[in-house]
Symmetry: C2
Subunit: 481 residues, 2 copies
């Protein structure tokens, strides 16, 4: 079976290579671009090396390495929240593995990160009947008094409804039963529920988890206290319980809940961004970044968020090194720390490397799933999109040729993108991403060896070609240096 | 919106009624049947009353009553395991509601049921790293000693693999990491894991939950100890953890788990089947049964298993009574008790009503979800299928005309089916049924008001027509009395 597969993929790639010689790789869309013909030809000449990368990952001796290395890591450490010793051990592991597998300039860069600890917690419905509510405190929440908070609860479906009943909120627990529209639109309820409710005198908030699908699954995440309002405890509950509490209220039933949370914020702790490179052969000062974050939430295992993204980036360098592919520019893998607490590692890194900004040629991050890949999401000028499309056309055998905009699945690279540095995130079939996100369901079962083979082939190929072609990724129109 | 909907459904039903006068309701398939023309005509004459049922449930004053009544019940009681006071309170509530809503001969019939109590429980991975394993003890399992059982674990994917490593099982916890094929095929691992492992000297078993999809969700259920083997504690773990433990073992890592279960079996307790009727106007001794079970597992809320099925049956009688539809035969709703412990309520009822067997004209049960309905699943002779198809053709406006065989979504009626009494279960879009089954995710969120409107229209119409037509449901070929 494996041998047959091997032969068939080899034939497919050979056929595809012959086709590419026939110049069919530039489709009409790409031809609308203004890439100079020499650059087009130069990109086309990478077909052989891209095929080699694909082959080695799909059927060769690098097959399943991203999945296997990720699984070893995840099974060893489980989840890795900022401030935890476990995260620091995981960082040490990655530094050692990077050296062991031949990566270069392996080092870490220190940064102080928030240190929030959940502790024991519970929410119990006392009236109209006793029921344990499945919950998770939200990151940065204060705890309750030791005996908990027992209070009448009031359910609202929106901030507007909260305003409308503001006079009845004092001393109560406010339950936000907001409708899930999209993560981007709905996450404000997780972020600001506590502050909005505290303004009206609420004593705590419980927020319907930000997810489109639930098996009675609570989803945690960071929340932000506004200045000048009382910090009240805040947690998420499941969509199911949130809906039930709304029905109870609509029937005129009095709802009483007891909330207990030991959550505490300690002094910031020293953590580290983890860096490993393949030094550029001709222009080592110029850098192409691939990245993902190594920290996770303190539930589940952070296999998807962002183990998959971090290992996609890191293993791309490992496999390029293994294949003996050293590009002209430096390839740098950065495994960010404390992304979940507000891109803390990335902010510190960008600040510390301010002087290098001109040398960051292209920055990549995968942090929105590593399901079956479809291509890239890009932020930059249109010329750069044309270059990317030309490069991705080398990957049409694995159906990863789409370029969408903007690069919104790469939170840590946004500081650079907003400064005009072109960058990309992974475009993948992430429809179910928020089913697992920040929950106990974020485990290795979300990750698929074959999807990771394909994503690594895409990711490593793009990083290598961008780092090796003559032209820098353009930042100004027509600038194909 | 509601008014427009109302008008459009009215027009649709009127148009459909006019068509039915034109005899189009008997399609070719039905015409292959040997139903006498008079019976065909008689069934066709029910189009008006069926349309009235549909109309009242889809847009009329009975709209959403099944969902609403179910939600009131579920929100009030939560889950209802056999042996619990909560189940008995829920039974009292149904008896009172039945009287209040005008049902007849409302009563309960006593039966002793198993009384198993879960208590506190936990499974913790101690080596190769510390992790809490999300678990649920299996019904009828014994508990562990107070301090728990701490033992090395061995993972097998099948009973065959267990046989192969039998020599290495003594004193260990056996983890069953079986692949999910279908519930029917795979549930044997939940049922017999403990006995099979105990035969080889294991001290406990943990079984991968019987489900095709998981958000780190454990699924409980009944298990059976064989005679003459030591009763060892047994619980389910999540698919995710089961896979992780397998990977750890495959890497040669030593796995140590600490299992604590307070589970206890007490003396059988008195419970009750709940019965309510619409007495037959002409042949009251003849009975059409609609049913579902009122008990549930002790996790989640038993809204799907089998709140939806029980209320579909019970509310069918309530709405027929409200519509003033009294059939010739008696319609009897039976809400079984202790289905989850082995059809205990149904067995007792069948035994107690042995003398009536000839009078059970048709028996229906819904216990495999109340998602969007498609028709019925039937067990009986082909002639009966023809009658059902003729009746279901009256429901083509709501696309519930399919008859499949056998009636496998009705466990409690199997005793009657095996005696040759014809019966049916609900055919519905239950593809995701086992995502929720026996888990904390079995809540009102699984139930959909519109699907329940449609299912009630189907269920009530079939029950009414079968109970009212001249002919009994045939038990022998050509027997259209």
């Amino acid at each position: 079976m494996n041998l047959l597969q091997n032969i068939s993929v080899t034939l497919m790639l050979l056929f595809s290579y012959l086709s590419s010689l026939n110049s069919t790789i530039f489709n009409n869309e790409v031809n609308q671009c203004t890439i100079p013909p020499e650059l087009q030809k130069e990109i086309a000449s990478y077909k052989t090396v891209v095929n080699r990368i694909i082959h080695s990952l799909l059927v060769g001796d690098l097959q399943n390495t991203t999945y296997r290395r990720l699984a070893e890591f995840i099974d060893k450490f489980g989840n890795r929240i900022a401030g935890s010793e476990n995260l620091e051990n995981a960082i040490d592991y990655m530094l050692n593995k990077s050296v062991e597998l031949g990566l270069e300039n392996v080092h870490s860069e220190e940064v102080y990160v928030p240190h929030w600890v959940r502790g024991n917690e519970s929410a119990v419905l006392i009236q109209p009947r006793y029921q344990n509510l499945n919950m998770l405190g939200l990151g940065s929440s204060v705890g309750t008094p030791v005996d908990g908070i027992t209070a009448e609860a009031v359910v609202v479906d929106s901030f507007e409804e909260l305003e409308n009943i503001a006079a009845h909120v004092y001393g109560k627990i406010v339950i936000f039963n907001e409708r899930y529209i999209s993560y981007g639109e709905t996450v404000k309820y997780r972020q600001f529920a506590a502050s909005k409710a505290a303004e009206q005198g609420a004593v705590a908030t419980l927020v319907r988890s930000i997810t489109p699908f639930s098996l009675n699954t609570p989803h945690t995440g960071w929340q932000d206290y506004s200045d000048n309002v009382t910090k009240i405890p805040t947690a998420c509950i499941t969509a199911e319980d949130s809906h039930m509490l709304r029905r109870m209220q609509d029937r005129g039933e009095r709802i009483i809940i007891k909330l207990k949370m030991e959550a505490q914020t300690f002094s910031p702790k020293l953590s580290r961004n983890t860096i490993a490179e393949i030094k550029g052969g001709e222009k080592p000062e110029k850098v192409v970044v691939v990245s993902g974050h190594l920290d996770s939430w303190d539930v589940g295992e952070g296999a998807m968020d962002d183990g998959g993204g971090a290992f996609l980036s890191w293993n791309s360098l490992v496999i390029l090194k293994y294949l003996g592919l050293r590009p002209k520019r430096t390839l740098r893998a950065i495994l960010w720390t404390a992304e979940e607490e507000g891109l803390v590692g990335a902010q510190a890194y960008v600040k510390a490397h301010k002087n290098e900004t001109q040398n960051f040629n292209f920055v990549m991050e995968s942090d929105e799933g590593t399901f079956t890949p479809l291509g890239l999401k890009y932020t930059g000028i249109p010329d750069g999109k044309c270059v990317l499309e030309a490069i991705l056309s080398l990957l049409k055998d694995i159906n990863t040729t789409t370029v969408e905009e903007p690069a919104d699945g790469g939170p840590d690279i946004t500081f650079w993108l907003s400064e005009g540095i072109p960058g990309a995130s992974l475009l993948n079939r992430a429809e179910s991403y928020f089913w697992y996100h920040h929950s106990a369901a974020d485990t290795m079962d979300v990750e698929d060896p074959e999807a990771l083979n394909l994503a690594t082939a895409l990711w490593a190929s793009v990083a290598y070609v961008v780092a090796d072609i003559t032209a820098d990724m353009p930042r100004k129109p027509g600038q194909f240096l």
